[in-house]
């Protein structure tokens, strides 16, 4: 039974990680020579997400901002059409809709969360080893304009919901497409990214604390 639960939860966090621009941003950066996120740095930016789901006439569109605090966690705020805030930390994931907590998943209950965080951390320092165990990574282009294509190493594995991940960028990551096995697809575009060394705001710290308390 743990198979099902952990699979679904793995799916959530896997999608989350793959849809999350910042770590990939950093990884791409590492891959193409960009300096990865260091301790004490905060990466901020905006995103637009289109989710193409089978059976839906139109994609689910979301827009908002993200904040990655090195060593602290990730805050993913969808602003339109709803205020949905997702906070991830080594301790787990918390989601709020319109300010009310709707989901809380502890890493202790979802072991993949721990793996995810180690993956994120690895990505932040430009370490591909965690992803390389799961995906074949093909790089094209140069430091000015590049593309990475990640495909699962294990073919036809029903436990792997991802068919491919395509990441494009110039100096920073600009575009991520996650193609899922079921025919669904997520398309993320990033803009306004900035790497800061200022401390997170009290609001951000409060959100990160929520996820740490799990």
């Amino acid at each position: 039974m743990s198979a099902i639960r952990t699979f679904l939860l793995s799916l959530i966090v896997c999608c989350a990680s793959l849809a999350t621009p910042t770590p990939l941003n950093a990884e791409m950066g590492a891959a193409v020579g960009q300096t990865p996120l260091k301790d004490g740095q905060v990466l901020r930016g905006r995103f637009e997400q289109e989710r193409f789901l089978v059976g839906f006439e139109a994609p689910l569109k979301t827009a908002g901002s993200f904040t990655l605090v090195a060593g602290g966690g990730l805050i993913w705020r969808a602003e339109t059409p709803f205020a949905v805030t997702t906070v991830m930390s080594p301790a787990g994931l918390v989601q709020e809709v319109d300010g009310a907590k709707t989901m809380s998943l502890a890493s202790a209950r979802i072991p993949f969360m721990t793996k995810l965080y180690s993956m994120l951390s690895g990505a932040l320092i430009g370490n591909w080893s965690d992803l390389e165990g799961t995906f074949k990574i093909a790089r094209t282009g140069d430091a000015k304009k590049w593309e990475l294509r990640l495909t699962p190493i294990a073919a036809n594995d029903p436990a792997m919901p991802i068919e491919a991940i395509i990441v494009r960028g110039k100096r920073l990551v600009e575009d991520v497409v996650v193609i899922r096995s079921a025919g669904d697809r997520d398309h993320l575009r990033f803009s306004g990214q900035s790497l800061e060394t200022v401390a997170p705001t009290s609001d951000e710290l409060a959100l990160l604390a929520l996820a740490k308390q799990l």
Binding site: A16, F82, T86
Partner: protein, 795 residues
């Protein structure tokens, strides 16, 4: 041909047939059973609980967990796959059908049509409280937030994502492990651990299964460690513990057997100073052990390794008769072999009868292992007796030696001590000491029959098991919850009714988790209620919900058209729930597993008032049964002692019978008192030792009482030899690493020593044969018109 010759030939035929039977069995492989549970009582529990205990114990017993860890995920996975292949190649492992992905697909197919009846506790609580909008809001958050929980389900008839919520709350037997590309894995402290969960296709207590699996495991681990430096491998499972236990037991059996055999041979050679008695007694011992083994194989189809261990020790007891016969050659007026046999025949017969009373008492305890030991002993002793009586006079060359002076002096010391005037003060002092020891010891006596303390678990395996439990959270306890109802529906409803109690127990820290069939398949009643809740609380929100998702047009309702609830039978037939078959024992009889059980008392109390639900604690119940049978055994000993008085009263009179019984009874009273004084709590195995102390102690008493004044020294030689051999065989068990066997050994060591030292007290009563057992005296019996003693003139 005389009657005895015919009987001797018939006995030869039986022995030859038994030897052929044994040879045939040895050729096929001796069917040895190493299941420690087979020693345990099976009486006193209702059948459902017993059946549940057996089922849970079998399921847990066949399970094997292997944890492979390495800093490199790839190496950990490669090593785990290699080890898995090695184990599978033994052919002893069930095919692995529980791959996470395959199980997930089957489960999704099973659950999807019934999703409206499957609500998580949280969603159900919200809907009951009229807070359906919060459920809708969560679904929107998942759809528009980062990642998501299978949002494609929204378009497939689960707009509020109720099924993912239900799936996420399902309990797991391995709470900390997750499927990672087909392998259950845990990442911790910079290491990847891969957990292999397998089930044995055969019983874990068969020696060949243990040997083959362990050989494959050890070889594979050695190869892995060479190929993947830094790899760590841990294992747990009853098959590994049983293998270690069997190795220890067999190792001890061979070591103790060798010590006993060597000691016995040296002793006999030292006393008799020729080979004849050694060969005769060796023959009697061999035939006794062989017939004991044959009796077990015929009656049970197998031999328990414990019976074999005790049976090996029995060799030391069966030589008693032969030693007693051989010792008569030291008597100055000993006659022919037939006459010597006749002189001790009454004692031998009485000894056999009373000893058999003691062993038969063992059969009254409903312990399969002890029943085998009792059968082994009864047939072994009877066979040794027949060999001595029928063959010894024929095989005995009639050659005699004189006993060494030191032997006679040593052997006569106890008689001297109890009768010589110079020891009077010492005797009185010893008497006072004995009374004081008995009073103080018995007043302070403590009992402890906790079966968990009687198993000698290999420390390395315990450490490995703990490492696996810590890493994976797979700490399912042997205690479990038994739920009984008229049918499955009733049983499932009862599980749902105790869910708040279980949650409270988790909150209290009494348990870390629980796993019930109703967690996976709610009762039909609960599913119907859930569906009504969904219709009432969520269907009205549907239009707005779809609009928020940007979906238009006709859309399916949240409550699907399928109105039939999902049944247990469908679930078990689906193949998605292999483990469910283990939890559902019969219609209406289910079990719930507990994880990380820390406070069984709280769980027991919390469930005690719930109809049809109770905590089953196999170890505690078995311990309680051991305590009950310890008490019964003590009563049994008293009854046996009382029964023995009857034949003794006929032969020695009332007072004589009491003198006969004084030494063995004093021994069995003083033994627990001494154990108490040295701080050993009295347990069931001590009590079982007392059964033998009584039986053997009575032997010594009878031999002393039957001894004529002139032959006291030689009688005591026989008893000294017998006691020494018994101590070599049983007393040595005190050094066993298995606490149960060690307890038995300590009881025997103290009891037999006391029985030997006190035995001459019985000499204060005079038996008829003590007055007339010599051939010359028998002739005088005939002169007086009395019948000669049996066997004397059989030829």
């Amino acid at each position: 041909m005389t009657l005895r010759r015919r009987a001797a030939i018939a006995w030869l035929a039986i022995v030859v047939a038994a030897a052929c039977f044994l040879a045939w069995h040895f050729q096929r492989g001796l069917p040895l059973n190493t299941d420690l549970m087979a020693l345990l009582p099976r009486e006193g529990q209702e059948s459902a609980a017993q059946k549940a205990r057996d089922a849970v114990s079998q399921n847990l017993g066949r399970r094997i967990l292997v944890l492979v860890g390495h800093p490199s995920r790839a190496q950990a996975r490669a090593a785990a796959s290699s080890l898995s292949d090695s184990l599978d190649a033994t052919g002893l492992i069930e095919p692995d059908t529980a791959s996470g992905a395959q199980a997930m697909l089957k489960l999704a197919q099973l659950y999807l049509p019934y999703r409206a009846g499957l609500l998580s506790d949280a969603d159900r609580g919200l809907l009951e409280a009229g807070r359906g909008k919060e459920v809708a809001k969560r679904a929107l958050g998942q759809a528009f937030g980062v990642g998501g929980t299978g949002e494609s389900l929204i378009a497939r008839g689960d707009p509020f994502l109720l099924l993912p919520s239900f799936l996420m709350q399902l309990p797991s037997p391995m709470p900390r492990a997750a499927w990672d590309e087909g392998l259950l894995s845990v990442s911790e402290a910079g290491k990847t651990w891969v957990l292999l969960v397998r089930s044995l296709a055969r019983e874990p207590f068969a020696l060949d299964v243990q040997e083959r699996l362990n050989a494959a495991y050890s070889q594979s681990v050695a190869t892995l460690k060479a190929a993947h430096p830094g790899v760590e491998v841990y294992r747990t499972g009853a098959v590994f513990f049983a293998d270690a236990g069997a190795r220890t037991a067999l190792g001890e059996a061979s070591t103790l057997g060798a010590l006993e055999l060597g000691g016995t041979i040296l002793l006999i050679l030292a006393v008799f100073r020729r080979l004849g008695p050694l060969l005769l007694n060796g023959l009697a011992g061999l035939i006794g052990a062989a017939m004991g083994l044959v009796s077990c194989l015929v009656l049970f189809g197998e031999v328990h390794v414990f019976a074999l261990l005790f049976g090996t020790s029995l060799l030391g007891v069966v030589v008693d008769y032969g030693l007693h016969y051989c010792s008569t050659e030291f008597e100055p007026d000993a006659g022919t072999p037939n006459e010597r046999l006749a002189s001790i025949m009454p004692g031998l017969l009485l000894s056999l009868v009373t000893t058999l009373i003691g062993y038969v008492a063992l059969t009254l305890a409903p312990l399969h292992g002890l029943l085998q030991i009792a059968i082994f002993s009864v047939f072994g002793l009877a066979a040794a007796f027949a060999t001595v009586v029928l063959w010894f006079p024929i095989l005995d060359s009639g050659r005699r030696t004189r006993a060494a002076g030191w032997v006679l002096r040593a052997a006569s010391q106890p008689f001297d001590f109890w009768e010589a005037g110079r020891w009077r003060l010492m005797r009185q002092g010893l008497l006072c000491l004995g009374v004081a020891v008995a009073l103080v010891g018995l007043a302070r006596i403590e009992t402890n029959d906790d079966v968990r303390g009687m198993q000698a678990l290999a420390p390395d395996l315990v450490r490995e098991q703990q490492a696996i439990f810590t890493a994976t959270g797979a700490n399912t306890s042997s205690e479990f919850v038994l739920i009984e109802g008229a049918d499955d529906e009733t049983a499932l409803r009862r599980q749902e009714a105790i869910r708040p109690i279980v949650a409270e127990l988790r909150a209290q820290g009494a348990i870390a988790g629980a796993l019930f069939p109703a967690d996976f398949i709610p009762s039909s009643g609960r599913q119907r209620e859930n569906r009504r809740l969904v219709q009432r609380e969520l269907d009205p929100l549907l239009a707005a919900h779809y609009a928020a998702l940007g979906l238009s047009g006709a859309r399916p309702a949240a409550s699907p058209s399928n109105t039939e609830p999902l049944t247990l039978a469908q679930a078990t037939d689906s193949g998605a729930f292999d483990f469910l078959r283990n939890l559902v024992l019969a219609p209406g009889v289910h079990t719930g597993l507990l994880q990380g059980l820390k406070r069984p008392d709280l769980v027991r109390d919390a469930l005690s008032h719930v109809a049809g639900v109770r905590l089953v604690e196999p170890a505690a119940e078995i311990s309680a049964l051991f305590a009950k049978y310890r008490q019964r055994t003590v009563i049994l000993i008293a009854v046996s002692a009382a029964l023995m008085l009857i034949p003794f009263a006929f032969r020695y009179g009332g007072a004589g019978a009491l003198w006969i019984m004084l030494p063995p009874v004093a021994s069995i009273v003083l033994t627990p008192a001494i154990l108490s004084l040295i701080g050993a709590p009295f347990n069931f195995f001590h009590a079982m030792a007392l059964v033998l102390v009584l039986a053997i102690g009575v032997d010594y008493s009878v031999f002393c009482a039957e001894s004529r004044d002139s032959s006291r020294a030689t009688t005591m030689v026989a008893i000294l030899l017998a006691a020494t051999v018994t101590l070599l065989s049983f007393g040595l068990l005190v050094v066993s690493t298995a606490p149960a066997i060690s307890s038995f050994g300590s009881g025997m060591l103290i009891g037999i020593t006391l029985a030997f030292v006190l035995a001459p007290l019985s000499g204060r009563c005079r038996s008829p044969s003590a007055i007339s057992s010599h051939p010359a005296l028998d002739r005088s019996r005939q002169d007086r018109g009395q019948q000669p003693l049996p066997w004397v003139n059989a030829e």
